[in-house]
């Protein structure tokens, strides 16, 4: 795995825009992976704070693809049930599975307890719709999600 090449220069963490809020900084995540402490990594909040901005990748002297590693780890955390999986992603995907589209409230995370104060200002501007647009071809959407679940179980 490419993490072996990491020399712990911490350039990635220096540039990471959400590092200030992470429990383990990006270079520490890599170090934990080097030490094969996977469980600690899967439980880390840091995975869910990665914005996939790719700054770390642009700074890394070894082109270690942390954004992709973070995404893989998120999938693993979600499957193993080990991690602090964010309810946000589950609600988002449930909405896409059901309606084919997602609502602004979900995209902005309002249902998950945060941001209640902006619900009314958004409604007033017609930015949250009571009747959301839907995909008519429900069968296609169902099949796509069914394939996804099968693949996830197969791994």
């Amino acid at each position: 795995m490419e993490v072996r090449q990491c020399e712990q220069c911490a350039k990635c963490s220096g540039g990471c825009p959400t590092g200030f809020a992470m429990d383990y900084l990006p270079h520490q995540i890599v170090r934990l992976l080097q030490l094969e402490l996977k469980e600690t990594v899967l439980e880390s909040q840091a995975l869910w704070l990665c914005t996939d901005c790719k700054i770390c990748l642009s700074l890394c002297p070894h082109q270690i693809n942390l954004p992709n590693i973070m995404k893989e780890l998120k999938r693993e955390a979600r499957m193993s049930g080990a991690g602090k999986v964010q309810a946000y992603h589950d609600a988002f995907l449930a909405s896409v599975e059901r309606y084919g589209r997602t609502s602004a409230a979900l995209a902005l995370g309002i249902r998950n307890g945060s941001d209640k104060e902006i619900r009314w200002p958004l409604l007033k501007r017609g930015k949250i719709k009571v009747f959301r647009g839907r995909v008519h071809d429900k069968v296609a959407m169902k099949r796509l999600f069914a394939q996804g679940k099968r693949r996830t179980l197969d791994v």
Binding site: K71, V96, G109
Partner: protein
Amino acid sequence: MSELAYYPGCLNHTASREYDESLRLVADKLDIPLREVPDWNCCGGNSASSLDIGLAYTLPARNLVQAHTISKEVVVPCPICYENLLESKQELAHNEALAASLAEALDTEVRDVPEPLSALQIFTAETVLEKIRLYARKSLSGLKVAAYYGCRQKTESLDQLLLALGGEGLNWPYRNECCGGRISGGNDKIAKTMVGRIVDMARECGAEAIVTACPLCHANLDLRQFQLRRDQNTPLIPVFYFTQLIGLTLGIDPSALGLNKHFVSTERALTSAGIK
């Protein structure tokens, strides 16, 4: 110009409706005929890739398939949707198993899917800029605008656009700083901190307005700034979609461009710049 497929994306029908509205109006004025992709679905946003990498490709791919009867290209306003559609097209080109399972799920052939083009790319093509200069009724010369590209758009095209609109992009360091839009759902406090830093920097550099091409950046900068107002006494900086700035210089009515849908008022900036 022949008709182009247009994929609005979920946010453009809700939180960033003014992006959609202004884009359509401006496209109309500039003779770029758009047709909405029929029965489009969510591209999977930031979440599909956290469930299953296959789904992260097949959700956007269905839209490419839906668009293929309209044109060889599909215009995508949101940089996140754009990236998802693009990566999906690239994956489909060499992953036969994926293409086969997609064809099975959609019960159709999957071949020659269209090429995604970002809306910013379309509107800043030299021929379109030329047309904008030709049709312009107002100028942005009185407004100091900071072009904000966010983490996805590694171009200079917003600055080129500002020049065509009679203005000039401000020199400031945070043009590519990440706004946290992709994690702001469920992490609003963190997003507010990130937005605060960006807006403070813009203010320090003398910006009277910010322009963006991303609905997540806009929702984040506009809405979170409005929320932050409670804690600060500093003046707020209005955030525009590039399509709204084009519309204003073409003389389109500000409310038709959705300026009244913003959280941070655009009034003062536009009045003092003599645009309104």
